[in-house]
Subunit: 391 residues, 2 copies
């Protein structure tokens, strides 16, 4: 299997990730922060170690401002619903994932006003358009760091400055960029950073989290046992407990810590160069295949290692199914849980095929994928029986 | 280490659980329900397999009515906040965990009325008292299946009948009983069953879920990518997607499936007998140690394999620290995230030491624990420097 679906979840994981998870389950199975015994303290230490690794990666001063949850979606729900209330206005883009658009849709029903700034046909946003959308009652800007459809990198640093200057809370969805691009919450003026553990950070699924800047107060999404301050009727004020209720994914977080260490050891710049090179190779190669239209910046330096394309007028699901069943290539065809983005690109009906690369992909795999696409186009290979899933 | 903290998380796990997690991460790392390719389909199959195992265990007709999340706390938050709104009244007990009392505390702020039925000094509730608490606007009863402090088993079947007769939604917190006691949602008339994956079901931490009966409509706690019906502005109507947003803990759920299979293979009755025997052994042995007071039913057949006790007037945290540091016994001392329960028992100030047993504990460990407790009392062993953590 040639795995080009790393934007959904990265695979494979570095072997250290699996080893750490197994060690955690075998040796320190206990519940962190729930008791004073040696195993519980060891479990706590593992989780806190991961917090520290992430804090260092994202330039977060206090690791306890990172709260863990099931995934980036949970983090975004906590950020948006925890922050915004009736009468608030929020500015977002037309390239967001459903993990932003759907919570905003619910909040709209609760009296929050939402402005979606239109992006261009490459998925790019203009900072001036964001600035123009800010109103007197604007509370926050929420933006993806890079589109999960086109990979388009958003001008997060500039918009961070705008947010700072206008005294707005800046929420960034780093689903496609955590571990992939440099993220510096301090210098980028990011107040709330939602990240998945299982994509560019090479941790296992079931991990993700939210950085909450000092001074930003959120209503918790969940209340429950926090292992400390158990006598209080509500959640404790202190972080991370305030936003972490119930048992964490201890083993998964131990694995995530190893994923982050792997990135730091390899060097994020080196990984970025490798992924950028694969993206460039694909973008270059695909140009010569007639009938394939790539959407997005078509410039490896301006996108995450994510490329989406259409083949003639053929439904994307058919191409995805052919790649899977005839060529053993795992990719993702469909709307990518981002219908707004597809509307922006004009691909809502046909949908798109997405390739996404990781540190572990090799140039030979890109070459093979190009070869397959050329054959599909030239021989007009039909979709396998049962057709494709375009979800 | 003698591990007697299974009510926090069970340890060790059956080896098949770890093997399934590793196999999932190594071979089917992809994101379930997010693409049509073979690896994604394999991931989906693993998760659905676990749904089926759980449905069979709990006598749930349609496995898709089980939704997965990070832990039982998330499931309880979804159940309570998803169901209850301003003007609703809910009946609960005075023995609940913070995973019930804290969401209810928040809901109270939003106009939900809450009646806490007082339990007796053994943690037991009278069905007549629950019936008497029901009002015209009562919407639901929420009850723990067994106290996480005293192990007291609640009369869930009787209260289920009451709920059915009075047309109330019946919410059960199975944190201490899933995999430990028989749970039959159909015959017990349970509408919403919250369960952790990592305690009596022997799965890894980071897993848990909620069974949602046909006809019960909840507002989702989280919205986001569901991998299907991506074009909708809000969550799809169908389950499990409606309540499952973002990437699931695929590997963890694969492990959980093996945990449930382990239980079914061993036989839940056989596991129950073993755990009941350990509980009985401890209750019997502790009687002859002067100055130790056990709280709860003191009858292994009427409690989950959880026993809490006080040693004279000594703070529970001190005893927990001595057990850990002098004797290498992992237990849990403190309020157990259940301050209401401790108020009911009259142990809010002193707190309690809790022992909890699993399938993997052996009579020799109980004997050792009794020996240590006797020594602590007879020699009046002092707390180690630094003292105990009573969380």
């Amino acid at each position: 299997m040639v795995y080009l679906d790393n934007a959904a979840t990265s695979w494979p994981k570095p072997p250290e990730v699996l080893a750490a998870m197994e060690r955690c389950l075998r040796e320190v199975g206990a519940n962190p922060g729930r008791a004073g015994h040696k195993m519980a303290i060891a479990a706590n230490r593992l989780v806190d170690e991961t917090r520290k690794e992430l804090a260092s990666l994202f330039n977060i001063g206090n690791p306890d401002r990172i709260v863990f949850g099931l995934n980036a979606t949970e983090a975004l729900n906590l950020a948006l619903k925890g922050l915004l209330g009736p009468g608030d206005h929020v500015v977002t883009s037309s390239m967001e994932h459903n993990s932003v658009t759907r919570p905003l849709n619910t909040l709209r029903g609760a009296g929050v006003k939402v402005t979606k700034v239109a992006c261009d046909h490459t998925g790019a946003i203009r900072v001036a358009d964001v600035a123009a959308a800010v109103r007197r009652n604007t509370r926050a800007i929420v933006l993806t760091h890079a589109s999960n459809v086109t990979g388009t990198v958003m001008p997060v640093a500039e918009i961070g400055r705008l947010a700072r200057d206008r005294d707005l809370v800046f929420i960034v969805d780093a689903a496609q960029t955590a571990g992939v691009l440099d993220i510096d919450v301090t210098n980028m003026h990011i107040h709330l950073l939602a990240f998945p553990g299982h994509k560019g950070l090479y941790g296992p699924p079931g991990t993700g989290g939210l950085y909450v800047a000092e001074g930003v107060e959120l209503n918790p999404l969940k209340e429950g046992g926090t292992g400390s301050h158990s006598d209080l009727p509500g959640q404790p004020e202190i972080l991370p407990e305030r936003y972490e209720s119930g048992t964490l994914n201890t083993a998964g977080l131990a694995g995530l810590g190893e994923g982050v260490k792997f990135i730091c050891r390899e060097g994020i710049e080196k990984i970025r160069r490798h992924e950028q090179e694969l993206t460039r190779q694909f973008l270059e190669g695909v140009k010569s295949i007639k009938d394939i239209r790539v959407y997005g910046p078509c410039d490896a330096s301006r996108q995450a290692p994510v490329v989406s394309f259409a083949v003639g007028e053929r439904p994307a699901g058919d191409i995805g199914a052919i790649l899977d069943q005839n060529y053993n290539i795992a990719c993702r065809a469909g709307l990518h849980c981002a219908p707004d983005a597809h509307r922006t690109l004009g691909t809502f009906e046909q949908k798109l095929v997405r390739f996404s690369f990781s540190r572990f992909n090799q140039p030979g795999e890109v070459e093979y994928a190009l070869y397959c696409l050329r054959e599909i186009v030239e021989k007009n290979i039909p979709a396998p029986a049962g057709g494709g899933c375009g979800c």
